[in-house]
């Protein structure tokens, strides 16, 4: 079973800065693997342990995504591939899915692509479904559980108010929820092994990506502006006094508004 896992490295802070074009300045921010993507790696590793095969992890981003890929290798992935090229920069979800899709095509001959449902920085949940479209794969999203017999994949799907069991033949794309598993603590021997592995860096030309589809230029959506939300100020009435006095005012107000 050949499984490709796509992961995203995300900044681990809430204070961020933007450049004049409105693009996020990522330099200097501490980064982590997008948490739900670790569950995607774990799901792939568990399938491999049952059925044999290999797990290949890919990530697109600036040079520092190497650390995320290194961590994925530590967890037990067999191979990691880094997609780094200035031409990828500023991509929206469309152009991101295209670039990752090109890399997946280049790897080729896979049975499953697995990713986290969404990234904690953008929260769009678009890249998984869009890669599935680009690759012409059936999409099995929101997986709470995953099973395979080596020919097809079946998931327990959390679809809003419904829970479904759905399946598709290989190859297919699965997006996972964090409830799917507990991801492993890295075993020491894997850490040493992981640091000996080479991580190839692929550029746009290496994955036969067409320039017009890449990065900021290849993105259909454009950021017009970023702003801090304006809030009506001075509306709030702050209550003063002892807790008992405050409580009485609250209860009076609730009573006046027929809320108790």
């Amino acid at each position: 079973m050949k499984i490709i896992v796509t992961i995203k490295q995300v900044p681990n802070v809430t204070k961020v800065k933007w450049d004049a074009d409105g693009s996020l300045i990522r330099a200097g921010l501490p980064t982590i693997i997008n948490p739900v993507d670790k569950h995607a790696i774990e799901a792939a590793l568990e399938l491999k342990e049952k059925h044999g095969g290999e797990v290949i992890v890919i990530s697109m981003g600036p040079g520092q995504v190497e650390s995320a890929l290194r961590e994925a290798l530590c967890m037990g992935a067999d191979q990691a591939i880094q997609l780094t090229d200035r031409k990828f920069a500023g991509a929206d979800t469309w152009a991101t899915s295209y670039a990752l899709g090109c890399a997946i095509k280049k790897i080729g001959d896979y049975d499953l692509v697995i990713s986290g449902v969404e990234a904690m920085d953008g929260n769009t949940a678009q890249v998984g479904p869009q890669m599935a479209e680009f690759l012409g794969l059936p999409l099995l999203s929101y997986a709470l559980g995953i099973e395979s017999d080596g020919k097809k994949v079946q998931i327990q799907q959390k679809l809003g108010d419904f829970e479904r069991k759905i399946e598709a033949d290989f190859p297919a794309l699965v997006t996972v929820e964090k409830e799917i598993n507990e991801y492993r603590v890295t075993p020491m021997d894997k850490i040493l092994e992981a640091f000996e592995k080479e991580i190839p860096v692929w550029e746009a030309d290496d994955v036969d990506a067409e320039l017009v589809h890449l990065g900021l230029k290849g993105s259909p959506t454009k950021l017009r502006k970023v702003f801090s939300p304006k809030i009506e100020k001075g509306k709030v009435q702050m209550l003063e006094g002892t807790p008992e006095e405050i409580a009485r005012q609250v209860a009076d107000k609730l009573n006046e508004k027929f809320l108790i």
């Binding site: 469309w94 953008g122 108010d161 290849g218 259909p220 950021l223 502006k225 100020k233 009435q237 807790p243």
Partner: protein, 338 residues
């Protein structure tokens, strides 16, 4: 994506009308209200796109809620939602009819379907918007969404591709008034599904049972934030909720700390609430959270920090420790009820 749209050819606003077991999703009615406003600003028609098995009665409802036209695609194979089949039907019709805008409720189905449709149509999609508007001069859809962890807002446009697509989370927009006297046209979309096109098989589908009322429908909500996440405060929050008959919700960090389940997380990555009364306790008020509470009618915020952002969203503010203030409030409310 190279092929940019011939923008002048595209006209009208479309709303995807989601149904589950024949029941229209509330978020789709909310989208119709929003779609109506966009269509009126542009001076164009509003069409709803309804897919399912034997769902024609819902088409009339969509007209009553503001649609001028309903595209209706029915087939027994469409009883259960499946990404690829829905995508095929919508995209085929969209390529023929060329809508300029397509908006979709960001339910689980909406978030699964929309990206695939947008990729196939070579167009962009802005996810989870909190506001939609028209730039009348440029005739563009302007979508606003919280960006980057929800500390800032971003406005996003899709200038060169059509349709311009956006999703909006449930509860952000109001359900419009239905008008049974409205008339509209129901257009049957021919459906032909070949067995080899069915790639995903639905083995089982069960509607989850809810423990009582959903937070998005609750009349009263008490919110827990990190500032009230110690065991003592949590107990007081529970007691307050009990005396008020309120549901308990909270901020994302409290979900991550397993104090509350994800189903009751309030905010951008959780639920949008519109209660008569909201009492956030120990919630600082990041944009991540406050995008989910802007429709609360009356808010009483409790926070240790008198400068907390949450007070900007409150009618009454209490600068204090929840575990000191809450027992006093509970006592006073009990007096009223006695």
């Amino acid at each position: 994506m190279a092929t940019k749209a011939n923008i002048e050819e595209h006209k009208n606003v479309w709303v995807f009308a989601e149904q589950n077991n024949g029941k229209l999703a509330k978020v789709s009615l909310e989208m119709l209200g929003e779609g109506r406003k966009l269509a009126d600003k542009l001076g164009v028609e509003l069409a709803a796109f309804l897919i399912g098995d034997n769902v024609k009665t819902s088409a009339e409802t969509l007209i009553a809620y503001g649609a001028d036209k309903v595209f209706l695609a029915e087939d027994p194979e469409l009883k259960e939602y499946r990404t690829e089949l829905y995508t095929d039907i919508i995209c085929k019709k969209a390529l023929e009819e060329k809508p300029e805008i397509l908006i979709i409720g960001a339910s689980a189905i909406g978030r699964d379907l929309t990206p695939r449709v947008s990729f196939r149509l070579n167009t962009g999609c802005t996810a989870d918007c909190t506001e939609l508007d028209i730039d009348e001069e440029k005739r563009l859809l302007v979508s606003t969404r919280p960006a980057f962890g929800g500390n800032v807002m971003a406005t996003i446009i899709c200038p060169e591709h059509r349709p311009q697509m956006s999703t909006v989370r449930p509860g952000v927009m109001a359900v419009p008034e239905a008008d049974a006297s409205r008339t509209g046209e129901i257009i049957t979309v021919p459906v032909e599904i070949k067995p080899e096109e069915i790639k995903v098989r639905v083995i089982e589908s069960n509607e989850k049972e809810h423990e009582g009322e959903k937070i998005e429908d609750a009349e009263k909500v008490v919110g827990i934030g990190i500032g009230a996440s110690d065991p003592e405060s949590v107990e007081y929050v529970k007691e307050l909720a009990k005396v008020l008959g309120a549901k308990i919700g909270g901020s994302r960090p409290c979900v991550e700390k397993h104090i509350i389940p994800h189903e009751v997380q309030v905010g951008q990555t959780g639920k949008n609430i519109r209660p008569e009364l909201y009492i956030p306790c120990g919630i600082s008020g990041t944009v991540q959270h406050t995008t989910g509470i802007t429709n609360a009618k009356y808010t009483i915020a409790i926070n240790k920090d008198p400068n907390a952002e949450i007070f900007k969203f409150a009618n009454l503010g209490i600068a204090g420790d929840a575990k000191v203030i809450l027992p006093a409030i509970i006592k006073e409310i009990k007096k009223y009820k006695a």
